[in-house]
Amino acid sequence: MGTGEERLLKRIAAGESPAMRDLHETYADRLFRYALLRTRDRQLAEDVVQETMLAAWRSASAYRGASSVSTWLFGICRHKVADALRRCPQAETRPLPEAVAGDASAIEFWETFDHLQPDDRELLLLVFHYGFSQREIGQIMDVPVGTVKSRTFYARRRLQALLQGRS
């Protein structure tokens, strides 16, 4: 890769604070929305993002470029979400609070989306919103590429059926 992102991580590992701020600016909102959709709680999601950024800062020097920076960060974030859900297991199954769900059409969409299992929801988010590849999702979720492929196939069809049922 040798990307700007990798250089950014090297600067973080070298202790450059502005680099940490750059990382935050690039990723905090993306991670926050992912964490919010997973934890369904604004406060929990903010904590998760904080913990993710601190963990990234602490382990930047161990980053070896085996995955892209965004894949690496989402992998960390996913672990932090799992920690939060262990502390608060019912969070994942409650509806998204209306205060954060957006306008009427977004609320309607989330109501339908919530009929899926949490695993399917996460996968579809990573594929269709965040645009990760099969390999990247395999790295983030720590599953083989073949599993990502087949699970996405079925999850998409399930969501499609739900959306069709509504319209």
Binding site: F32, G102, A106, F153, Q160
Partner: protein
């Protein structure tokens, strides 16, 4: 080689999210040019992606903002924030590292995230 219907449907999400290879993309496009059922699935997936992304974009962004200060003890970080002692305590907790790690030295940059607004 043109994919079968099953292979085409497996490719759909990855062509829609633009991470399929050029070869896979061409294969799928060739297939859906002549297969109405798979074409419908493809179009529905594009719509699905639109709707999902629109809904995600309607979500709020986080109220967490980074505060970074170079090379100083916690007190200078707090001073930089312009906060009183009680803020120092909150910041100390916010950036506290695991106890199993050696204590931070003053030459490591301090990084904290501070919540702003409500």
């Amino acid at each position: 080689m043109e994919p079968s219907c099953e292979e085409a449907l497996e490719l759909v999400p990855w062509v829609v999210n633009a991470t399929a290879s050029a070869e896979e993309q061409c294969g799928l496009y060739r297939h859906i040019a002549g297969c109405r059922a798979c074409r419908t699935e493809f179009v529905q997936s594009v719509v699905l992606q639109r709707r999902l992304t629109r809904a995600v974009q309607a979500l709020p962004t986080g109220g967490v903002r980074p505060v970074t200060e170079l090379a100083g003890p916690l007190t200078s970080l707090v001073e930089a924030l312009g906060g009183p002692a009680i803020v120092a305590q909150a910041v100390r907790q916010a950036i506290e590292l695991p106890r199993t790690r050696p204590a931070l030295t003053v030459n490591i940059p301090l990084v904290a995230t501070v919540r702003v607004g409500t």
